[in-house]
């Protein structure tokens, strides 16, 4: 059989060439005719986002947020929790919005009733998962509001920020936690709340049982005695349904309630409090001596006051009240900004 090589070559080359041209033209026409204008900002925002698709921003993944933040001027650029301030700034720059300083949020565990300090109603021997345990009559814990301690939060955490301690209570690593709320959603007892990292004085109890019942179930529960409400100089604590609750907007982290709480249900996340110190700006108004809850500040009217470093508990109330801003060294001082708070929190 005779094979006409030249003919086959020319025909096939011509055919492939023609079909290639047809496809190319067809695609070019389709691309031109059906062009969709994609906002280039979306692409750029998408690139600066971490791509974890965690949903902390409230949109369906990073793509969803990128589209929303580029298209809608109402959507703030600082919703990305894992990306923190750097991403918020980058998005603000791309979209031309102003980035309000984004304060990182972290998960806080609102229960201290670990296996050593709380009572169980029965022995649970099912799957080691809180969502399974809660199906067995609400869980084995005597306190219906407490952490079950089977580590569902630790297992859902995409960042490995939650570990279970030896007494079956979750511990949040604030450095790893991005505030994505996965644990908050997964926890069947709702003992996890995601709060701004600077809110460091919290009532770590969710029990709405009456005082005696709470006391019987758990050594570290809030028994609604009201001591914290009385001692709070900022009226931040209120008592509702047998549970003290600190209004995080009003709380100035002075820590007086922490000391007063008879059951240690209020937790101070501040690792070590620095002492207050009065500078030369003091004009001797005596306000600090009046407000100091531990009588550490003293001095004669119109003369510079001093603070007894032994007595000072670092509550920062005098710093807040001083009209001359003459007291420094502890909370509520003006120099203390978010970055310093972060540094402190990392020392935990």
């Amino acid at each position: 059989m005779q094979i006409d090589l030249v003919r086959i070559l020319t025909v096939s080359l011509a055919f492939i060439g023609i079909i290639g041209v047809i496809f190319g033209l067809g695609l070019a026409i389709a691309a031109a005719k059906f062009a969709v204008k994609v906002d280039p900002k979306v692409e750029r925002v998408r690139e600066v986002l971490p791509g974890a698709n965690c949903g902390a921003c409230g949109y369906a993944g990073c793509q969803g947020y990128a589209e929303a933040v580029a298209a809608n001027p109402e959507v703030p650029p600082n919703l990305c929790a894992p990306g923190k301030a750097a991403v918020a700034e980058a998005i603000a720059q791309i979209t031309g919005k102003t980035a309000a300083a984004v304060e990182p949020k972290v998960a806080r565990i609102f229960c201290q009733g670990d296996s050593a300090r709380s009572v169980k109603r029965f022995r649970y021997e099912g799957i080691k998962d809180c969502r399974a345990a809660v199906l067995a009559g609400g869980g084995d814990k005597a306190c219906a509001y407490g952490c079950l301690g089977y580590g569902t939060c630790a297992s859902v955490c995409p960042f490995g920020a939650i570990t279970m301690n030896e007494y079956d209570l979750p511990v949040v690593d604030v450095e790893k936690c991005t505030g994505c709320r996965k644990c908050e959603i997964a926890c069947p007892k709702k003992v996890i709340e995601v709060l701004p990292i600077s809110k460091q004085v919290l009532v770590r109890c969710h029990s709405l049982d009456s005082g005696p019942v709470t006391r019987k179930n758990c050594q570290v529960g809030c028994i609604a005695c009201g001591s914290c409400v009385k001692v709070c100089p900022f009226e931040a604590v209120s008592l509702n349904n047998n549970l003290a609750r600190i209004d995080i907007e009003k709380c100035r982290r002075c820590g007086l309630c922490v000391m007063k709480c008879p059951t240690n249900a209020i937790m101070d996340y501040i690792p070590h409090r620095t002492k207050a110190y009065i500078t030369d700006k003091c004009n001797g108004c005596t306000i600090c001596a009046k407000v100091c809850p531990v009588n550490a500040a003293s001095g004669v009217l119109k003369q510079k006051h001093v603070i007894d470093q032994e007595r000072c508990i670092g509550c920062g109330i005098c710093v807040d009240k001083c009209p001359k801003k003459a007291i420094i060294g502890t909370f509520n001082a003006e120099t203390m900004d978010i970055s310093e708070i972060l540094e402190e929190a990392k020392k935990v």
Partner: protein, 194 residues
Amino acid sequence: MLNELGKIFIASALINNFVFTRYLGLCIFFGVSKRMETAVGMSMTFTSVMVISAALSWLVYNLVMLPLGLGFLKIVIFIGIVAAFVQAADTILRKISPGLYYKLGIYLVLITTNCIILAVPVINADEKYNFMQALTMGLGSGAGFSLALIIMASIREKLELADVPKVFQGLPIAFVLTGLIALAFLGFSGLIRL
């Protein structure tokens, strides 16, 4: 009993199921069978692309390539046809139906150069099917692939909760499962008498 088209449909969907008998398209099969939702999305996209690309390549092959004596070029040309069609579908869908695009767009890109998509036109050409038979073949293959994906996805969703030994976790147990289902699919081979 069954007419010719029915036989082709049954044969391509069950007896010669692409995944369980011909062992094609395994990458996508294992890739998207983790969740039912993606499996269903992929099945729909796959079936429609398969039917349309079968039709397009039948036209090009029988009306242009055979008369020119260029049958030997079919693999190259079919890849080109499928890729061009998928790309065009991607562009057009994006404009006409953004909703559908977001549902199926990610799968479209994945299947551009998939082996099943290529296998359907090649088998059509080898078997010298006519146009309707080629379409049925595409539809049947799509249905077979969808069936495989959905079976696998439903099993793997259950498997998430099962206590699988550590060495078998993930892909190994999926391969074992696929082997077992393939064995079961052998049972279909007596379904049609030629």
